[in-house]
Assembly symmetry: C2
Homo-oligomer: 162 residues x 2
């Protein structure tokens, strides 16, 4: 396999980490300003960012949308337990979760649950409709438990690098 297989750790020096911390806050920061903050020239910063993107350390550059501002004020968690861990049944469920646009995040977990989902919807009736599609319609779902988020206290995907 190549030298940067999908899961291998990339070594980062102090400067790389400083750059990543800045970009995780605001990736529109100009290379010139980043250069000032990390005591480097702009092209040097540019090369480092390019490397971070090519090696997959930076997975994506995205705009974060406020769900409440676009009419999707309800965030909730669904904890899903499956009947059987058979691979084909697991795959079917997994694919249905990935395909649902309301599902922002889906993790396969150990413990009392098998999947943990983070979901964003316009209304509780939309959520009910979604549970019918994803859970009740799948025989392999043993049970699920819902937690409604009353406050999105802290939301992000930042990885602290020190």
């Amino acid at each position: 396999m190549s030298e940067n297989s999908r899961t291998d750790e990339i070594s980062l020096d102090r400067t790389d980490k400083a750059i990543l911390n800045l970009l995780q806050r605001d990736n529109k920061t100009s290379q010139r300003k980043i250069a000032e903050q990390v005591n480097l020239s702009a092209p040097a910063v540019q090369r480092r960012i390019k490397r971070l993107e090519e090696t997959g350390v930076i997975q994506a550059n995205v705009a974060i949308v406020d769900p409440a501002k676009v009419g999707q004020p309800i965030t909730l968690f669904a904890q899903v337990a499956m009947e059987s861990e058979r691979t084909d049944l697991y795959e079917t469920a997994r694919r249905s979760f990935v395909a649902a646009p309301e599902v922002q995040q889906c993790y396969y977990v150990t413990g009392e649950a098998d999947f943990m989902l983070v979901i964003s919807v316009r209304s509780m009736s939309d959520y009910e409709a979604l549970t019918r599609r994803l859970f009740f319609q799948n025989n392999n779902v043993k049970h699920f438990r819902t937690f409604v988020a009353m406050d999105r206290v802290k939301v992000g995907l930042s990885i602290p690098l020190g």
Copy 2:
């Protein structure tokens, strides 16, 4: 209060939604290319993006870092139940969760738990240390339950806009 108070919904037409869907995938897409895709001029696209940022529809522009590539391969959930819902005790806990850099996401939820946390760490022993700081050291934490993510099936903060 002003015309764009913090939680009010902003009306978006079809074009705004198309732009947001593009930017949620890749906010480095140039205004020129966006303009082609939505059949508008680049300056028109620019004005719309500016409005979306000023009204807070676009909350932030960030780089997404792959946790495994930077040596933090472990993602987990902590479901936390509190003893008392007293405001001051809630605030203390809430602040400690927000302050912890390992805590990527923190939601205050209804149901059997009070808080749901998404956490990213280097190792299980780092997680153990974190639980001591956040949970065992806080008398108001009744109990907590951990779910280790074996697979980050789908991870993002995108809001589907149709």
